[in-house]
């Protein structure tokens, strides 16, 4: 085998390892919800090709107010779905949309776009 072929093989394997590490294993930063004057937990999420932040931690038994700021027009991101809460909401483009939830159970809850390609996670803790 030529030098070139060896480079391609080694480079390819390295790239595959890196991709799987980056998408599946790399730890994502968890952001904690702030609490406003009325005891409502506030989570601001920018929607642009994904959810930023994508992993949010909140406390149980306290209302959570999401403010989704959608900064793009077309694409899957026009809808946000919380399957665990049976909630779906349309997010108008270039606007902030509020969505309120009352998490009564601890655990990890996914939220996704309408096609479930974009994903985020809501961690409910005691």
């Amino acid at each position: 085998m030529s030098m070139m072929e060896w480079i391609v093989i080694i480079g390819g394997i390295a790239a595959m390892i890196w991709i799987n590490w980056y998408f599946f294993l790399a730890r994502q930063p968890v952001s904690n919800a702030g609490i406003d004057g009325e005891g409502v937990q506030e989570v601001a999420i920018v929607v642009e090709g994904g959810y930023h932040p994508a992993v949010v931690s909140v406390k149980r038994d306290r209302p959570v107010r999401f403010v989704f700021d959608r900064r793009e027009r077309s694409g899957c991101s026009e809808e946000i779905v919380f399957p665990g809460f049976g909630v779906r909401k349309f997010l108008p483009a270039f606007r902030k949309t509020r969505l309120e939830l009352a998490p009564a159970q601890t655990g990890n809850f996914e939220f996704t776009c309408g096609m479930s390609m974009l994903r985020g996670r809501l961690i409910v803790q005691d």
């Binding site: 070139m4 391609v8 090709g49 994904g50 994508a54 779905v81 479930s116 390609m117 974009l118």
Partner: protein, 804 residues
């Protein structure tokens, strides 16, 4: 095609944040109307207004004394309607939010508008990039004729190469001047234009997703086309680098443009088809009229429908749409309610009858009193329910969800593996082959079809249901309704009319009382009773225009009947126990009683002055559609069970008439839950059909609860399926629709999986060693566009499914 008819004077219209593409404007304001109670003078008005204006986040507040409400424009990021109500309370006046959330209509409208814009933009971009692609192809023709040693390299895409090779002789004959210059610079510029303009969002979104450790279809398209483009640029600027290594400096410019054009075309078609999946919901939203004619200060005025107040008098003429829910005060008419209830014949309406906003008045003119408004109206409830239903997940989707979540990174890995394997094993032009195959893998493997498979079917099915007056709560209900094997029917009000009617009046031979006498006397004392059986007798007397006497005394004997004095006669009407109390001899009617009970009728004995005078039989007749519906349920292979609190004999007689052979009689309301649970434990998937109010626990217990003939909140809450029409055929339709939908979902999922399972290896070149087939990235782009469009189109076929 403008589909956005202004439905109401929408409160959220005055948004300051415009939806300009590319801007980041985010300041919004919302307007809310809050009814204020207790204001009597201009000073009160001023006080409330000041308090509101002083509330943080309030941009504008105006209080109307006459209409007794406050219109507040506020910043939803700072305050909320609840806070505003609180502020009014603090001034000492009453306030509560009536139409707090009009969003069902609003959201749907906004979504429709956004989707329409999306579609237009995609179509526009697809057309332009397609045209540019053709131009770039033509310009590249001369390259095909160039020598292999040409430093600017040949067109690399196999499909493109074939197209160009077959066209070159023609082009050479028609436009020889094309061959006089080297057009790679133009190709390059056109490609850059398409990538930077029409395809820009693929790259922007892919990058944005990547930064957050996620990847979607944009990632695949961006990586695929981006790599092809970069490779071509390198081949253009440094061909020697390739040639020195024995690799041809291939160009993929046209391929990139064509891939983007094809994917955009696919997306545009998909957007159009997706719009169609919610067409039924859109039609419902459009039912809401704009204006209403109301009586104010003695005059008839046309006002925006949102300004109609509760209890206001509304006037409707023939042919007009009924603007809001209400109840008729004067006039009669036939109303076409088909768009809401699915009832195809116009419904006769008289004073006192309920009207549903959005339905069409056919014949007469009438006045009615507005009742539920805005978000409380029947139509708003339906729209809200539908929106929720369409956003819900069906359990069958879980697998697809899991797969699409991990799909893209795995495809990226597969593309790299494809490249490596081709590079190492190909005999000739290894880099070119490796490259084309890797790009094809990236482009063909779009998870869109998987993501669309179930939701589009749920959307079309729930819409189709709603058009027939069948409201399905969501994907899960739909899926379970497709698996039902037992249908438990509540008797009263479900199989039967739920309204007892007098069927027989039998005077005892040899007494002085005629049939008419009996009815008149019994009705006279029963007029004081509120028992449903008594009501039936009184109605029967009224229908025959018998003048009722005033009872001198009346006594209701719980569980037995009633006694009283009418026209000097001492009457006792009731069951055997009551007769026993008065020691009345019943032998004369024994046979008759047997016969009546055998027919499912409830006989009541009539004794006058201590002697048996006759019988009056009452029955709850079955609905004309019940028997046919039960037969159809049986034909679908379902076990049909009737539940009733009646005695065994009566129950059996009704069941016989309805064609049901399984009867559970004598059950109390709790017993219904027990029966449903017992069958579930035996492994049956049970549907419970009831009227939604007293059957709520059983409806909730059942795998699928069907509430029949009500649009009430309780029914909507407890049931999985609500039938707007008050009879059983809707149950059959719902089950047929659910089964049909399940089939569609499965087809879609299988198709989406198979497409990827077959498509990816073919793109990777698995057919090459045996058949010499290598998939062009352009064809991969076409296949990708086709896969999601075909899934949506398959779901749309549900609209034409026969379920009646």
């Amino acid at each position: 095609m403008p589909t956005t008819i202004p439905l109401m004077v929408r409160e959220k219209r005055n948004l300051t944040g415009t939806a300009e593409y590319g801007t980041n404007a985010a300041t919004t304001s919302e307007k809310v109307m809050i009814p204020v109670k207790g204001m009597t003078c201009a000073a009160c008005q001023a006080r409330v207004q000041r308090a509101l204006q002083a509330t943080p986040g309030v941009l504008d507040a105006s209080v109307n004394l006459m209409l007794k409400n406050a219109a507040v424009t506020y910043d939803p990021m700072v305050t909320s309607p609840m806070v505003l109500v609180e502020a009014i309370h603090e001034t000492g006046y009453g306030a509560e939010l009536v139409a707090q959330d009009q969003s069902a209509f609003d959201e749907q409208e906004a979504q429709d508008r956004a989707q329409e814009e999306d579609y237009r933009e995609l179509r526009h971009k697809a057309l332009w990039s397609g045209s540019i692609g053709l131009l770039a192809m033509t310009l590249s023709m001369p390259l095909m004729g160039a020598a292999e040693a040409d430093v600017h390299g040949p067109v690399a895409d196999p499909f493109m190469r074939w197209v160009m090779e077959s066209m070159t002789p023609t082009i050479r004959a028609v436009a020889p001047w094309l061959y006089t210059f080297t057009p790679w610079v133009l190709s390059y510029a056109l490609t850059l234009l398409v990538m930077g303009w029409a395809g820009r969002h693929f790259y922007v979104r892919a990058w944005s997703a990547f930064r957050h450790h996620s990847a979607d279809m944009n990632t695949l398209i961006a990586v695929g086309t981006g790599a092809a483009f970069l490779y071509s640029v390198l081949a253009t600027v440094a061909p020697k680098f390739f040639l020195n290594r024995g690799v041809l400096p291939d160009l993929y410019y046209e391929a990139v443009v064509m891939i983007i054009a094809l994917i955009l075309t696919g997306n545009a078609l998909e957007a159009r088809a997706k719009r169609q999946t919610s067409a039924a919901l859109r039609r419902l939203v459009e039912l809401q009229p704009n204006t209403a004619r109301v009586v104010r200060a003695g005059a008839e005025v046309d006002i925006p429908v949102n300004d109609v107040q509760s209890e206001e008098i509304v006037i409707v003429r023939p042919g007009e749409r009924i603007p809001v829910d209400g109840a008729i005060i004067s006039g009669t008419s036939a109303v076409d309610e088909s768009m809401v209830t699915g009832e195809s014949l116009p419904v006769e309406k008289q004073p006192g009858d309920r009207l549903i906003g959005g339905t069409i008045n056919r014949t007469g003119a009438f006045r009615y009193r507005a009742t539920t408004l805005g978000s409380d109206s029947v139509l708003a409830h339906i729209v809200k329910l539908m929106r929720d239903a369409q956003g819900s997940r069906a359990p069958i989707q879980r697998l697809a969800d899991q797969v699409s979540g991990i799909f893209v990174p795995i495809v990226l890995s597969l593309a790299i593996a494809t490249f490596v394997i081709w590079f190492v094993t190909a005999d000739q032009a290894p880099a070119m082959r490796a490259f084309a195959a890797a790009v094809a893998v990236l482009i063909i493997a779009c998870p869109c079809a998987m993501g669309l498979a179930v939701p589009t079917a749920v959307m079309v099915a729930t819409g189709k249901g709603a058009e027939g007056g069948i409201l399905i709560k969501g994907g899960e209900s739909l899926q379970r309704a497709g698996q039902i094997n037992t249908v438990v029917l509540d008797k009263t009000g479900t199989i039967t009319e739920g309204r007892p009617t007098v069927t027989d009046v039998v005077p005892v031979l040899g007494t002085e009382w005629s049939e008419t006498d009996l009815v008149r006397l019994v009705a006279s004392i029963e007029a004081s009773s509120e028992h449903p059986l008594a009501e039936a007798i009184v109605r029967y007397a009224n229908e025959q225009s018998l003048p009722l006497a005033t009872a001198d005394s009346f006594q209701s004997v719980t569980g037995r009947g009633a006694t009283g004095m009418v026209d000097g006669a001492a009457l006792a009407v009731g069951n055997e126990a009551l007769m026993a109390d008065y020691a009345v001899d019943l032998t004369a009617v024994k046979e008759e009683v047997e016969r009546l009970a055998g027919e499912g009728k409830t006989p009541m004995y009539i004794a006058i002055n201590g002697k048996l005078a006759g019988l009056i039989a009452v029955a709850d007749p079955i609905k004309p559609t019940s028997r046919d519906a039960v037969q159809r349920l049986n034909r679908l292979g379902l076990t049909v069970v009737m539940l009733t609190g009646d005695h065994q004999r009566t129950a059996e007689a009704i069941a016989r008439k309805a064609g049901i052979d399984r009867v559970v009689a004598g059950v109390l309301p709790d017993g219904k839950v027990v029966e449903v649970r017992r069958r579930q434990q035996a492994g049956e998937v049970v549907a419970m059909v009831g009227d939604g109010i007293n059957d709520a626990p059983a409806l909730a217990q059942a795998d699928v609860g069907f509430a029949i003939g009500t649009g009430t909140d309780i029914a909507l809450e407890a049931s999985d399926v609500t039938l707007m029409r008050n009879d059983l055929p809707g149950v059959v339709s719902a089950i047929l629709l659910a089964r049909r939908t399940m089939r569609t979902m499965k087809q879609n999922l299988v198709w989406a999986f198979v497409y990827n399972v077959v498509g990816i290896p073919v793109a990777a070149g698995i057919l090459y060693p045996a058949f010499g087939i290598l998939l062009s990235p352009i064809l991969a782009g076409a296949a990708m566009a086709f896969s999601s469009v075909s899934v949506v189109t398959n779901s749309l076929r549900l609209r034409r499914a026969r379920v009646a």
